[in-house]
Amino acid sequence: MRRNLTYALLALMLGGLIMVILKKKITGARTGSGEVSYNYEVRPILSDKCFACHGPDANKREAGLRLDMAESAYAKLKDGKGFAIVPGDPEASEVYRRITSADPGYVMPTPESHLSTLNEDEILVLKKWITQGAKYEPHWAFTVPVQQPLPEVDNPDWIKNEIDRFTLSEMEGLGLSPNEEADRAQLLKRLSIDLTGLAPSLELQQKFLDDDSENAYEKVVDELMSQKAYGERMALHWLDVARFADSYGYQNDDARTQWAWRDWVIHAFNSNMPYDRFVTWQLAGDLLPDANKEHILATAFLRNHKITEEDGVIPEEYRVEYHLDKTRTFTSGLLGLTVECAQCHDHKYDPVSQEDYYRLFAFFNSSREKGFDGSAGSGPAKTPVLTISNTEVKNLFSFINAPDTSQIVVSVMGESETPPATHVLNRGVYDALGKVVTAGALPAVMKFDSLKYPKNRLGLAQWTVAKENPLTARVFVNQVWQEIFGQGLVKSTGDFGMQGDLPSHPALLDWLAVDFMNHGWNIKRLVKQLVVSATYRQSSKTTREKQEKDPENIYLSRGVRTRVPAELIRDIVLSTSGLLNPEIGGPSVKPYQPKGIWEATTANRGSLARYVQDTDGLLYRRGLYTFIKLTLPPPAMIIFDASNRDHCEVKRQRTNTPLQALVMLNDPTVLEASRVLAERMSTRTIPLDKQITELFRRIVCRNPTANEIELLTDYYHTELATFSKDRKKAQTVLNVGDHLHEAHYEVSRAAALMRTISTIYNMEETITKS
């Protein structure tokens, strides 16, 4: 016990040291000559410790002092006693005196703020910065990205495309070297998960291993990206951004039918619709000069938010809430900004005033929708509604997978003929009307030129995808990077503002963003660029040295290794067992779910009071089609960190918990997949080690090691011994899931094999992208 304690403490201390060393190195790498960088070193400190009281929020500004702009920071203090910052002279700067003071009545930040005082490093940075002239720079994310010359590297042989120049030069600067390329089996599984969300089939594995042509890798990338499953994989993240769900969300929580919009998203990714168009249609398809029904369908993006069906609500309160949600989805999902703060007051960190916020809100406030449009049971879509007839499905919407011939209804956008005036809402309260404002986008990001852009959502869309908009391309490129490399170049995917994380590779992010725009916002091209890079192809093995220098792999000197998203766990289990129903699109489905959980929470109104499980093929659809009832989303998915779809979500958590172990051990989906595979396998007469090898290759997507075969064989024999003595027990074990049993198999062997397979499904590697 004592030894453990000593080790643990030692580890903590060492950890602290390593952190400091790495930080120092980064500082050195960024600033070269010893010049302190305002954006990278100074502003993070000022923003975190000072701006809450001395920043953009005019109402909470203390002592009239504003430190986020040079002009006001250099100006004479309001009390007349000196200057906050005197460029070149820290000792004469009130800021410096305050942060270094030991007097609780004088020191900054004040003890009441609960912000800890600055540490030595932080004080040193500010001192150096003031000494060097206290130069301010505009926030990096609010300046238009430009492509810098590609960095020189010591080892050009490693380079496969431009991405690698940026990553390698960072690695070289930090004394890291890239890993070797991952082996083919590993690469194929990684690619298959990233590009289709499925495990590669045995046939594809063999084909890729046997392909010794020089461009075998590019070929398999193209093959995977040409599959329809590519659109499903890409849609997954977008459904989180769009908070897509199958119910209305508030208390009575009846069913809604937005799924036709999901079909459109999958189709858009598969047909490689350019991102600027993808965004424009979703924000303002209905306002396009030649708007057709497909354009209008795309606008369901803005209507996926929760809608109340609670009797007795005050409609205006909810109408406002819906537009606040749209504003949040737009800023967080498309601009990577967190601006909800400005709903109640001027933003404390970013230059977004409350008035700016409501001017943005005004774009959505002219919508024709109602705060309350009927209680539970009043229909699966709310005003304005798009109706799609069966004939239209056949002619215009071939991508919609209609289950029958009935009309499809979707909640979409539509302008009111008599839009209400938009007011600033004091404290964000729907009926506390302040000053009237007109529509305009965030000036801190980019001027909204009303000569160029109409003052409606179409103008907002044009502003968003303008090449001069500094955020849109960066934010999307970063989201795609996150999905493929496990974390964004900007880790705070939803916050590119001043409190957000700084990019780990700013020049790379900008290069990619500009390249993306210059090539027509071509998403497939971007995805391919990432996955063919040498950076992507590295093995994910890690060493003690790499763990010490870069535990989170920020500098990308090894391949990505992360647990796959919730939906893909299901997809892997279904695809490797052969149970997957590969149908694309259509209404959401209700697979196995623990009994009674909807029933225990319902208010007994609406069509979703009881869970009615689907049957047959509908039980085996991909995870992204699982029905999401917002007040009780599918538990197996939530346990694996799926978005609850309550709000726009741009980054999922990735946790590792005992409940996840329980799902993998006991969810009928996994058990049934194991049973079906086992029964199929036991009808064949091949030696056990061959069986295990094949199963292992199917599920883990590589050849097992001798040790793995031995462990699994051994396990199989122990279980077989048990079942041979108790065939009834074997029957019981095999009795799981609705899928038909095979006709001829030996029960004890099948049961033993089922447990062996279930063990393989529970391996960490099975549900890991490695």
Binding site: D311, A636, D646, A661, D714
Partner: protein, 485 residues
């Protein structure tokens, strides 16, 4: 286990190490040696000075049991006795009293607001002389153990936002629930049970449903999420092994699995793999610990008698109260009950009788039981709904039948144990029971006070997410010093 644990620790920076731990390692030995209750801690990026698993100051309470009366019980029928309403029976609520209070859509079009006195009798009980209705005979016997707050008020007037506000400190959803905040702030006392458990039941009254966003972890790690217990075969979802799998067989399987995963670790060196092995071990321990705690069969006759016979029927409020005591006794930080059916818009007298039969005996029994076990001092029990009900009638109105609409301005809850003053009636409403006249307690104030009793400063318990430090109490909340013992 020493070597892998050491390797694991060696491979990480401090913060990374701590946050990984929270996400998984959960090793009892290491966790409890580092700092008490480290399991369940999330890494606060905000540098709030919070030390994992340690309160800011000496706590009075260690655990909370929240008996949420979902749908909003009427304070007029239970605690807030207003004879004036009986005297003015049927007369219109004076506009001067209403003072511009906004109305729900259900009564906004009502032409008048006839005052409705309770048809139930009240009497004074205990040393405190608190007035309690005849509907709560058991509660009336514990008045000297509880603190009745008659001056609660909230911002919301509809169920969904009001419930969400009570549970998460914000009406909008997607913020961490109170139980998640406590799990985050204090960690878990038991390595084999979830730190935040949710128990659901329902009465026959008009129900309003509950939603998983009420026990969401929001932006905190999902290890802090409330775990919904069910009355079905599995108290915790996915807990039970499939039919035909006994404990020895599960053990065999897990041993093989650990060996396979160890092989992957040897190949890749990823600390997540070691964490995964630990998670399977904890799952295995949960499989024994949870059914044990949910098993009522060993409870003595005296306990069954105290909670009432329903306590042996899984899924009833009484059974949930008993289970709450057992979970709490095992160190579960926050047990959240919801009992549905209090939304008395019509036929309130009939419905509330049934609801009280469901909850009165068991709620009182829980307090008494905890007290007898010496646990009441360290366990904070809270009873109440999301808002109150109007003093005037909604809909059809007769001498003995009426309904009441939602009322956010004044309502009653009670608290017991956990360093809250027993035998106290706190706060007062006017003679109409419409407005608070002394000691108002806002939902944020209640939250601040609950955190305080657990040793946490509500202004310091923060989590930085997307650039902002969030709190349970948002930007307000004052300690209710008057109720603290």
């Amino acid at each position: 286990m020493e070597k892998p644990v050491f390797d694991f620790a060696m491979n990480s920076t401090r913060r990374h190490f701590l946050s990984r731990l929270s996400l998984g390692l959960g090793s009892a030995a290491l966790g409890s040696l580092l700092v008490p209750d480290i399991f369940g801690k999330g890494g606060d990026e905000g540098g709030s000075g919070l030390i994992p698993g340690q309160p800011h100051f000496a706590p009075k309470a260690k655990r909370v049991i929240y008996l949420f009366q979902n749908g909003a019980p009427s304070q007029f029928e239970l605690f807030d006795h207003k004879p004036l309403l009986n005297k003015m029976f049927g007369q219109d609520l004076p506009e001067s009293v209403r003072g511009g209070q906004r109305l729900t859509g259900m009564t906004a079009n009502q032409k008048n607001f006839p005052l409705a006195g309770s048809i139930f009798n009240f009497a004074r009980y205990g040393a405190s002389g608190a007035e309690i209705s005849e509907l709560l005979p058991y509660t009336s016997r514990i008045v000297d153990d509880i603190c009745i707050i008659k001056s609660m008020h909230t911002d919301a007037i509809n169920h969904d936002p009001a419930l969400t506000f009570f549970q998460t400190g914000a009406q909008v959803g997607n913020r961490p629930s109170m139980g998640s905040w406590l799990s985050y702030g204090l960690g878990s006392e038991n390595q084999n049970l979830p730190g935040f458990c949710v128990l659901l039941s329902r009465g026959l009254g008009n129900g309003q449903g509950v939603y998983s966003k009420l026990w969401t972890n929001g932006f905190l790690d999902s290890v802090h999420q409330g775990v919904q217990f069910s009355s079905g075969e599995n108290p915790v979802l996915y807990l039970g092994d499939p039919e035909g799998m006994d404990r020895a067989e599960r053990r065999r399987m897990l041993d093989k699995l650990a060996a396979l995963n160890q092989g992957t670790y040897d190949e890749f060196g990823d600390p997540e793999i070691m964490a995964k092995i630990q998670q399977y071990e904890m799952a295995y321990r949960m499989q024994t610990a949870v059914p044990e705690v949910a098993d009522m069969s060993k409870e003595p006759e005296s306990v069954v008698k105290m909670y009432g016979p329903d306590c042996l029927v899984p899924g009833t409020y009484a059974a949930n109260c008993l289970l709450a005591r057992k979970l709490s006794e095992q160190g579960v930080r926050f047990v959240q009950l919801y009992h549905q059916g209090w939304d008395g818009h019509a036929a309130l007298p009939k419905e509330i009788r049934g609801q009280c039969l469901d909850v009165d005996q068991a709620s009182a029994a829980l307090v008494t039981d905890l007290k007898q076990r010496g646990l009441l001092d360290e366990t904070l029990v809270i009873w109440g709904g999301e808002f109150g009900r109007t003093n005037y009638c909604q809909g059809a109105f007769t001498q003995d039948n009426y309904g009441r609409d939602h009322h956010p301005r004044a309502f009653t809850i009670w608290m017991a144990g956990g360093g809250v003053k027993p035998g106290l009636v706190y706060g007062e409403t006017d003679d109409f029971g419409y407005n608070i006249v002394s000691n108002p307690v806002h939902v944020h104030d209640l939250h601040a006070t609950i955190l305080n009793q657990l040793g946490l400063d509500h202004e310091k318990l923060t989590f930085k997410h997307q650039g902002r430090r969030y709190r349970l109490t948002d930007v307000s909340g004052k300690l209710v010093k008057g109720i603290i013992a």
